[in-house]
Symmetry: C2
Subunit: 312 residues, 2 copies
């Protein structure tokens, strides 16, 4: 016998959401999913910072869901999808094709930031150097740097990224263990502009569980990449997300409790210790981004990779 | 074929310690176990605060191991075992008998603090009131209060308790989730006297895994209680210890990493926010302990239980 939707009573209650103990049909799930994103955007005033919104569109499920929901909920904003092309063979081509397909189907301008052209090196080039052993974390630095550079060039008011609840909690846990509270502080739902950057960073999916993003993308047939990165995923990150999964099987509310404690208690605690005074920040003379010295640390990494001359 | 001890080469390497990847015989395990306790005591100067040392001796494994190790490593201190008799039927009798047996065998003075006499009510009396629903946490408050009262009466310099690594991390995790940073701050290895209390609180087993305490007690045939509390254990605490267990099966070092991050990073962060100024603390006119008002919160609880008159 089919299970009824706990909300509309239709016969297709096929999605069970354990922390609210409800079976939802696809339509009610979509409403539930989008409703939470809207509430989060409104609560943290994510889109009231301007009208020109960039969305980092990787080709993966999170940013694909994000762009779809934003365009649906706030159709009057001006969007641009920024796709970072890493140059990782078929993997990057697949990601690029799917991201472009989605942007086109949503009638959103599509901007490609190609590492080969913009940096002069690709991720495989970096993989071949001493940064190769920690390629996932190096790739993360460069991704942040590239999104910042593209956002500056495009002059957007807001940069929205697809970080979901599990991403956020995993970084929180790992940073807590290593005592890296600055990284935790950067996990806030909204980050103000860091001069010379001029845009706000916002994370509308920050309290959406990863599993639900996957459901949303599947049920709504949103195009996403079908290949996995050949350089693998960050093993520690996967292990810690697995711990969060096991934990929330036993305590369905725990992820939300952790998130709530993070925003309501831990961030205010860190606010007392860190101040937002960026007086010391300079401008990198290569990329024009914020830097602690003449050349920022990412540009220095890129210079090094060029110098060791993998590409001749 | 028997497994060799990784340290002495004997044929009885029957205890596997995963985070050091060694098989140990009982003798080498004892050295390993006691060595860490000694290092912790020395590092935090736990016993340099005075010569008269009280040990909270519950009849359970942790405090039994603690008293045994202290007496062995630092035989020249003057020890007194404080046993809190909760009045929980056979359970308390069993705990009392085992605690007394251990104290006598170690030639340590044994002091019984009997709730029936000292409070006028027992834990079963409290269980029958509105505090009964959260009896484990209420029992915890009263235990802390009773140990403080006994320590004041006895005029000890130091109160040592058996909190192990898993206890500490479980409270840390739960307090972090509820944003209760004051409770986390109290988890420090050493707590200075809170006037009018005059003793230091120290936790020599704070970085000893619970499982190893159990092994130490078993292998050394240290007498401990054989009954479980009829009021059960705190379900949430058990669940979260289980998560820590699963986690450390996958990452054997994680408990130590959490502890190290806690002492080296989180406590210094909290130090900046909390100050140790107890200027506001008054003296409870009933128990003589520290209080925020005329009568401390624990004495008020006890008064309430007496008033509702379970015992007539």
């Amino acid at each position: 016998m089919p299970i009824k939707c706990s909300r509309c009573g239709s016969a297709d209650g096929e999605i069970y959401i354990d922390y609210i103990r409800q079976y939802l049909c696809i339509e009610c799930f979509n409403k539930f999913f989008e409703g939470r994103v809207k509430k989060t955007i409104d609560k943290y005033r994510m889109l009231s910072r301007g009208d020109y919104v960039a969305v980092g569109l990787s080709g993966g499920k999170d940013s694909a869901a994000l762009l779809t929901v934003l365009k649906k909920l706030y159709p009057d904003k001006k969007y641009i999808a920024i796709h970072l092309h890493h140059g990782i063979y078929e993997y990057s081509e697949d990601s690029y094709v799917k991201a472009r397909e989605l942007a086109e189907s949503l009638d959103v301008e599509f901007h490609v930031f190609r590492y080969e052209d913009e940096l002069g090196v690709t991720i495989p080039d970096i993989k071949a150097t001493r940064y190769g052993r920690k390629i996932c974390s190096t790739c993360g630095f460069i991704r942040r740097w590239a999104l910042a550079k593209a956002s500056r060039m495009l002059g957007v008011d807001i940069l929205a990224t697809g970080h979901n609840l599990d991403d956020t909690l995993e970084v929180m846990l790992s940073s807590f263990i290593s005592g890296d509270y600055e990284s935790i502080y950067r996990l806030r739902p909204v980050l103000p502009p860091l001069p010379p950057n001029n845009y706000w960073k916002v994370k509308p999916l920050i309290n959406t569980p990863e599993y639900e993003v996957l459901l949303y993308v599947s049920f709504n047939r949103i195009p996403i990449k079908s290949l996995n990165c050949p350089f693998g995923d960050d093993a520690r990150s996967i292990r810690r997300k697995e711990i969060l999964r096991i934990w929330s099987e036993r305590e369905p509310m725990v992820k939300f409790q952790l998130f709530s404690s993070f925003t309501k208690k831990f961030i205010p605690l860190l606010d007392k210790v860190y101040n937002e005074d960026h007086g010391e920040v300079r401008i990198c003379r290569l990329c024009g981004g914020p830097s602690l010295s003449d050349i920022c640390s990412t540009c220095r990494k890129i210079q090094y990779v060029k110098k060791v001359g993998v590409r001749g």
